[in-house]
Amino acid sequence: MSAAALELPSVEDALALGLTRAEYELVCEKQGRAPNQVELAMYSLLWSEHCAYKHSKKLLRTLPTEGRHVVMGPGENAGAVDVGGGLVCAFKVESHNHPSAVEPFQGAATGVGGILRDIFAIGARPIAVLDSLRFGEPGPAGGAGGSAQAGGAGTRARYLLDGAVAGIGHYGNSIGVPTVGGEVYFEAPYEHNCLVNAMALGLAPRERLVRSAAAGPGNALVLFGASTGRDGIGGASVLASAELDHDEQGAAAKRPTVQVGDPFEEKKLMECSLELLERGLIVSLQDLGAAGLTSSACEMASKGAVGIDLDVAAVPLREPDMQPFEIMVSESQERMLCVVEPADLDAVLALCAKWEVGGAAIGSVTDTGRMRVFADGELVGDMPVSALVDDCPLYDLRPEKPARPVYGAPAATAGVTIASAPRAILLALLSSPNLSSRRPLYEQYDSIVQSRTVRRPEQADAAVLALPDGGALAVSIDCNARRVAADPARGTIAAVLECAANLACVGAEPLGTTNNLNFGNPEKPHIAWQLTEAVRGLGEACRALQAPIVGGNVSLYNEGATGPIYPTPVIGMVGRLPDARRAGRLGFARAGDRIALAGPFSPTLPAGELAKLLGWELPDGLPELDLAAVAAAQAAVRGAVREGLLASAHDIAEGGLAVALAECCLAGGLGARVELGAEFWAAIPPVVPGPSGAPGAPGPELLAGALFGEAPGGFVLSGPAEALERLAESVPLLAIGEVGGAGLEIATGAQPIAATLDELAGAHGALAGLFG
């Protein structure tokens, strides 16, 4: 080895790279000596939380991952489920939280690029993207946007929102993959740790799926795509796994590591990858993501139980004078690695040339079980693959339920109290940042390219994508983290149920689930408790719904000086419906249709959106919930939608029944007359804190609980009277009104609500003010 390579880094270097002293000693033991610079850089990345799942792997093993539709479970770049007609749907959600906090546009853009690569890495053509975003409170609408530094409440949240949405649109729109859905919430705990999660779906003929395991000693390793620069050096360990450092110095020090996305390069990379697979030219395929070449090459070797020799001098570089370790850890975007039989090498390189994605043979598969790195023929790193990939210590969590609330009460929104007129509360809810129309976001996304989109945003609860056999896929992404913060297990169950309810409303049955566990520092007992409880709830709900987990991602250490984020297990669910023409809609469709409230619905105010506007503290725990009953109601609604019996179906979520009704009116452009009579008050018992009023004359808390309380299990349906009567045989169902009129009227037995469609639309359009 060269003199430079032999100049050994110290244990302090290892600590600076994020390893613990004990981990460094274990590295020395595995190596039989102290690691050199290249080796230490590689160990530090592969043994980071991001790559090794040190604090979550044991928990993840408890999740259900098998089911009749599962074709590929966790462990590959993406999971996949059978969707019929010889096709599989690959999907996965991934986070790009910390890069987005540093530079929202590029952070979000490269997040989309990364998740798309995971999809085509297994041989599927990406067909859709969804985004899941969390920011701090945006403050009053209409302030100055465009700058992070300008002061004022909510400025940072708006700057991040603006940048992240533009970045997601930039990448997805330019590469020609529609962004068909998503979610965004604004809550104070995200002020210093925004979340940017992106989910992607792809389609592939079943036999075209490819794994990432390297095989066949003697086969060539080909790197293709963009050239390698110093982008994101140290990104995986410094940016992705440490608590964000907020002082200016810290931000300045991280500047050079910003990665810039190039969707055009990725488009060519995607077409090239898919054509390589179609022509049967490659043995295995792997994207380069966090930890770049290090992670990709080692993962491929590990999965194939082989060794790899590679020479960094063969890697096409964008910048001069890059050190071997820099090349090994660079996170330059838009690159892929594949294993090729020697006979096919020329054909592979020719295809790379056709797509103008410079391909280079950088090494070969060996039978040594070792990862050997050369620089122009000289050995600069030599490590056992198993030590790199499998021997990172896993840590047990020390969960402990916190004795005192972790999160402070939200600031009350001026204007409404629990005793305000219900009409005023409804308009306040509709215009609140978490409930108002997402149109200003989704209009920045191309949701229709590829000619598959049967239901666009705000037309239905789930996005619906037509399949060639006449059926369709439905997909939803969701997580109400305030409920998870109140009760990590039940809150997570609620998030899974919400996804499944969204699918039911379009007539789809769940096939599989992906998840992104966004949490704080797991070394703290209360965070460990949140994580443990959430994963328990996740497993329970996915088992009950037969929607196994096929993949996911974990993002930990999302906290700063002001505390942890809300525990945010983002759930993505994919389902199928047999007839695309019968995909459900959420908007009321015909005047004269009857409106029903269906499902086991026991609304509560605490942890809901109104509670937040009122400045209530989070409750300690959520009410118990009958998973089986909710699942049965979802099945009944799904069946009715599939039969074409209903004109509309919408699940009741944030803001409760009244907001759901308003949304149905707005989406359909039709009014509704609703009466909550004695039957309603007898059948739907809102769970309210403190004494409740008598039926017939509900007091303010009971009234608000019924109108605005939240819980899983409720649906607002519309359709002909006979259809609803038939449905009442299989699910609790209450006729509550009729579609028609110029606005929404709700008679309650106490103060009524009356608002014109224009008034509702005005309130619902509030989010536009957040964009400059």
Partner: protein, 79 residues
């Protein structure tokens, strides 16, 4: 006073636009072109040129990924 702000991608930061232009030029018959970088140009009238630096930091440029250079009308240094 008229001022001109030249904003360009920082050294080492990927510049897809510059690369695209560089790849396109030879096909159009322009040989011998290299190291193309594409940035932005902002021109404005300012009463107080002393504010320009801070304007760039706060709004005109994105200091995370861009360098900037301020040129005042009448001064040289544009070359």
């Amino acid at each position: 006073m008229r001022a001109r702000v030249l904003i360009r991608p920082k050294a080492g930061i990927l510049d897809p636009q510059g690369e695209a232009v560089q790849r396109a030029l030879p096909a159009l018959g322009f040989a011998g072109v290299s190291d193309v970088r594409v940035g932005r140009l902002v021109e404005l009238d300012v009463e107080d040129p002393g504010q320009l630096e801070s304007m760039c930091e706060k709004l005109l440029a994105n200091p995370l990924v861009e360098d900037y250079e301020v040129v005042l009308e009448g001064s040289s240094g544009g070359g």
